[in-house]
């Protein structure tokens, strides 16, 4: 006997729900939504990639202008389609029944980035326009995200906002230690992080798109924590160390109460890194001898702590 039958017999689910699960289990209906979509996407990728490469190789300047024009035309067409399919704005979550609606909205955002990057690169305007372009993109993406209720576009908006204040990290920069030598950019990171955390609370307070809260919090904490850590390393100041320890404790304590493991873990991570830095600063080379015992014991102690309090995060 299937579990759904048992749930139905015990009156925990209704007949409609039971029938639906039965239909999935006996495969009387099978959804190929993801399979068809993948087929379509790979097809579009092959075709557009092929045509673009062909144009690039054979039409030089005319090809570039044609590519820009076709990108613009596609952008306008998809945007028109999005408006046609969308429901009116609501502060609550809006579900549009069309299967591909969310992807159309995301496609608009990606086309916008592609088109303007192409234009800037082709006309050699990248250095002049990168900041204003990022800022305009931020406004556009935030507008699209709220109007059409799209978390993926909100993520693009936050990324564009970070870029417009100069916060970008490329893998190459990271390898070369570029992120550490950002001079005073960590202030931007801290301010932007705090702003995003604040927005997440305003979101809930005002009841506007409550489901955007975790996205804001994720980016907010990541920017705040990385900014604080870079600031601490760059300045080497005890003030920052004490402040970071307090912030780490505060974040951990708050999300312990809200029972959200990932954010609690972010707080723990900040605290642990800063605490170790403080130990290293006070003990110097002796820290390495202490580290032999300190790391295994604290890490395993942390595991014991989390596991013995597993009920705290049972909903996660």
């Amino acid at each position: 006997m299937g579990i759904h039958k048992k749930l139905f017999d015990e009156g925990l689910i209704e007949r409609g729900q039971y029938n639906y699960i039965e239909m999935i289990n006996d495969k009387s209906k099978v959804s190929v939504f993801y399979e068809l979509r993948s087929l379509l996407y790979v097809g579009i990728l092959f075709f557009t990639g092929g045509v673009a490469y062909f144009g690039y190789n054979h039409f030089t300047h005319v090809g570039h202008l044609l590519a820009m024009l076709s990108l613009s035309a596609t952008l306008i067409f998809v945007l028109y389609k999005v408006f046609k399919l969308s429901h009116p704005f609501s502060a609550k979550k809006v579900i549009v029944e069309h299967n591909y609606f969310d992807y159309f909205v995301l496609f608009v955002a990606l086309l916008w980035i592609s088109l303007w990057t192409y234009i800037q690169l082709y006309f050699g305007l990248l250095e002049i326009l990168i900041r204003p372009f990022s800022f305009v993109s931020t406004l556009l993406f935030f507008g699209l995200a709220y109007r059409f209720d799209n978390t993926a576009v909100l993520v693009l908006g936050i990324t564009a906002l970070a870029a417009s204040v100069g916060l970008t990290v490329s893998p190459l920069d990271w390898i070369n230690g570029g992120y550490v030598s950002l001079n005073s950019l960590y202030y931007s990171s801290i301010v932007l992080g705090l702003a995003l955390i604040l927005i997440s609370y305003v979101t809930i307070l005002r009841g506007i798109k409550n489901h955007f809260r975790s996205t804001y919090l994720h980016f907010g904490y990541l920017l705040l924590i990385s900014g604080l850590l870079v600031a601490e390393i760059e300045t080497g100041s005890w003030g920052f160390i004490v402040m970071n320890i307090l912030i780490g404790v505060l974040i951990s304590f708050y999300h312990w109460k809200t029972r959200e493991f990932l954010f609690f873990f972010y707080g723990n991570l900040l605290f642990y890194i800063v605490f170790n830095h403080a130990l290293y600063k006070s003990l110097g080379m002796d820290f390495f001898i202490l580290g032999l015992y300190h790391y295994p014991l604290t890490l395993l102690g942390y595991i014991v702590f989390i596991v013995s309090n597993k009920k705290q995060f049972s909903d996660d």
Partner: protein, 382 residues
Amino acid sequence: MIEHLIAYKIEEIEKLIRVIQIKDWVRLGIITEEQWTIIKEDYSSKLYAPSVYIKLPLFLITLIGVQLLVTLFFGMLIMGLNNDLGMRLIFLLVGTGLILVSEYLLIREFKHCNSGVTEAVIYIGAGYLGISITGFGFEIPWLTMFVYTGIAAIIAIRYLDLIATAISFLFFYLSLFLLLNEAGGVFTATLPFMGAGASLAILLITNKLFESKYEKIFRYQLTLLKTASLIMIYVSLNYFVVRELSISLLNLQISDSEEIPFAAIFYFCTLFIPVFYLLIGIRKKSLLFIRVASICFLASIATFQVYWFKEHAVLYYSIIGVCMIVCALFLYRLLKNKNTGFVTDRFQYESLKVNSIVELAGNKVSDKNLVNNIGESEIGRW
């Protein structure tokens, strides 16, 4: 009999699998959050199996912590020893000790089940145990791989571990490959068929197990094995793989325009194995077969491009792209209008509820707000 091999209590595992299944239904919107709150009171398992967000940090921290602890206590001892046997004895001690800690303390005492902590401790323990058995020299590579296959398989069965299942499958192929390559001659020449044969055998055993009473407990491992063996049958007989391996292992001296022996067979397999999988997938309504077929199709497209359309790759991919788009749109339209058993909508309770009601009424959905207008009483009608 297999029940005795599993480290957890079967009833608790069954409960846990039920909870995972019910959570899936909650995610699909079939069961409401309110219903889930009531259900989980009665159906929760005593086993501690956290979500991936908690599991991953726990795994990484335990991995680093335990490894550091082992280094702290045994590092000096191992460095002081110049004796291979002594080192292997210490590794055996550490490996067995860690597995026992996981078994008696974490699993039996604290009821952990793939919590991230157990995996980290078991993997480190198994690694030490493996080295203690095979030694440091890896004198007979295929035998070493075979020992690791065995260790990984035991972990996969005893702790219902998916990663260990995948590792044991990979090590099995590696040991088979090394063994046949070492044997040389006809064995190396028949490597593709041996590989496909071994995969077929695993597939048949997996299918048998799917029909047995163990299907419930080992469902995820069996699905993984089935997917992997289907892919390996294709990979073993794919023209690109066979040609490149033949050139490197058999030192075949052939130019770009020349073909390997039995090339037609491998071209045939490269083209028709995905078709065969797709047909089975459609006939059995199996998403697993359809997905594996899609992956194999992509590999076949790349294979044919490399050998047949080297000069016209751009045109080739553009035409393939057009074919895919046309195919997707055609299928979308076909499945939307015909009752084939396949639906194009995402599997969500709300969307299918609407479609089913509309199907009953013999109309098409025209009102976007229909979802909101359907009352609870109408759910049962379809």
